[in-house]
């Protein structure tokens, strides 16, 4: 698993949504709502996290002709990624909590 993750604000939002329910299966629309990110921002992040080994993606096991709809894809944090995600979010929270607002803003755009 690649632990050198670029912790952008949108990535942090996605991770926070996943960490909030680590054992749950999350699909794109639900993650869009919980992370408040548009689809165009969310899916590249999900793809990067999946490629980095932070997420596992599985397809819903249904017969589309019986269900009358296509199968959806679900995402879940891998067991190895969960503690690291929690740590990164905690670090980020600490940075934004302790640093003066202008410093954080400056770092975030550096």
């Amino acid at each position: 698993m690649n632990t050198e993750l670029r912790m952008t604000v949108p990535v942090a939002r996605v991770l926070a949504a996943l960490v909030a329910d680590p054992t749950g299966d999350h699909y794109g629309m639900a993650l869009m709502q919980s992370s408040e990110l548009p689809s165009g921002t969310l899916y590249p992040i999900l793809a990067r996290l999946t490629e980095a080994g932070w997420l596992e993606k599985r397809w819903e096991e249904i017969d589309p002709s019986v269900a009358g709809r296509p199968a959806r894809a679900y995402y879940r944090l891998t067991p190895a990624a969960l503690p690291i995600a929690r740590q990164r979010l905690a670090e980020l929270h600490e940075q934004t909590r302790t640093a003066p607002a202008h410093t954080v803003a400056k770092e975030a755009t550096a």
Binding site: G40, Y43, A108
Partner: protein, 269 residues
């Protein structure tokens, strides 16, 4: 109709993903779209994917050739499209009559929508500009270039320099550029786009320096407000400003969305 538009958006978005992921992502998006209630939400979902930056590996970001090509394309678009539009607009803005006033108003409103769409498209195909030009300088690049072309155009056509027109153009470009820079610094999207909308009007007023419906009241039963709204909607300088403002603000915001990051130290798994 909406279904077809969404399908087109998703297909366009999928084309910009790596080939091995393309079919999988398309299937996933179609399933999500199927589960999404409401046409507006479906359209927003598909449009956002279509307008997003192409998915790529974080390490593969330095492509000087592509960035230079984008900057050249940006120059051509910024300088060329508005000047082409100004020439075309002469055909429908130089006369007014009772028979034409309604469709002229519709063409004016349509031109504003077209300017927004064109701004979005042009920003989408020149994202590399902000790799060569700092986002803070994008307003200067956009409006400075437009002002230079606007000023030089009469000279190229063999006319002498009209100081009054240069002054109008300078105030237009300066006000739009300053407000565009301000909009680019604002992180909240609604506020940022609100400033952009304001900038389109302020730049117009900066150029004309008066509230005047130019006699259009005769077409609107002597009423000032509809006449003035007609003048605003059909003002080509507003159309051009909308195009450039949307273009510049999108470039700045996209750059910040992808570059804004907090680097955290690696932690062993």
């Amino acid at each position: 109709m909406i279904k077809r538009i969404c399908s087109t958006f998703l297909t366009a978005a999928a084309r910009r993903w790596p080939e091995d992921l393309r079919d999988e992502m398309l299937a996933e998006w179609r399933a999500e779209l199927h589960a999404t209630p409401g046409n507006a939400r479906r359209l927003r979902y598909a449009a956002s994917l279509a307008a997003s930056r192409p998915h790529r590996e974080p390490a593969v970001v330095v492509r000087p050739g592509r960035n230079f090509a984008h900057a050249v394309l940006s120059l051509v678009l910024i300088a060329g499209l508005p000047m082409l539009y100004l020439q075309l607009a002469l055909g429908w803005t130089t006369f007014r009559s009772d028979d034409t006033i309604t469709w002229q108003a519709w063409v004016g409103a349509g031109s504003i929508v077209a300017a927004v769409v064109l701004g979005i498209i042009c920003a989408g195909v020149t994202t590399g500009v902000t790799q060569l030009i700092r986002p803070a300088f994008v307003p200067l690049w956009t409006f400075g270039l437009m002002f230079a072309v606007f000023t030089a155009w009469p000279l190229l056509e063999g006319f002498s320099l009209n100081r009054s027109h240069v002054g109008d153009g300078f105030r237009w470009a300066l006000s739009a550029g300053v407000l565009c820079a301000l909009a680019g610094r604002v992180r909240r999207a609604p506020l940022s786009w609100g400033i952009v909308a304001t900038a389109a009007l302020v730049s117009y007023w900066s150029a004309v320096t008066r509230f005047d419906p130019y006699g259009m009241e005769v077409f609107f039963g002597g009423e000032f407000l509809p006449a003035y709204l007609f003048v605003l909607v059909t003002a080509v300088s507003i159309h051009v400003a909308v195009f450039l403002l949307v273009y510049a603000n999108l470039l700045i915001r996209r750059h910040r969305a992808t570059q804004a990051q907090v680097v955290t130290p690696p932690v062993a798994a």
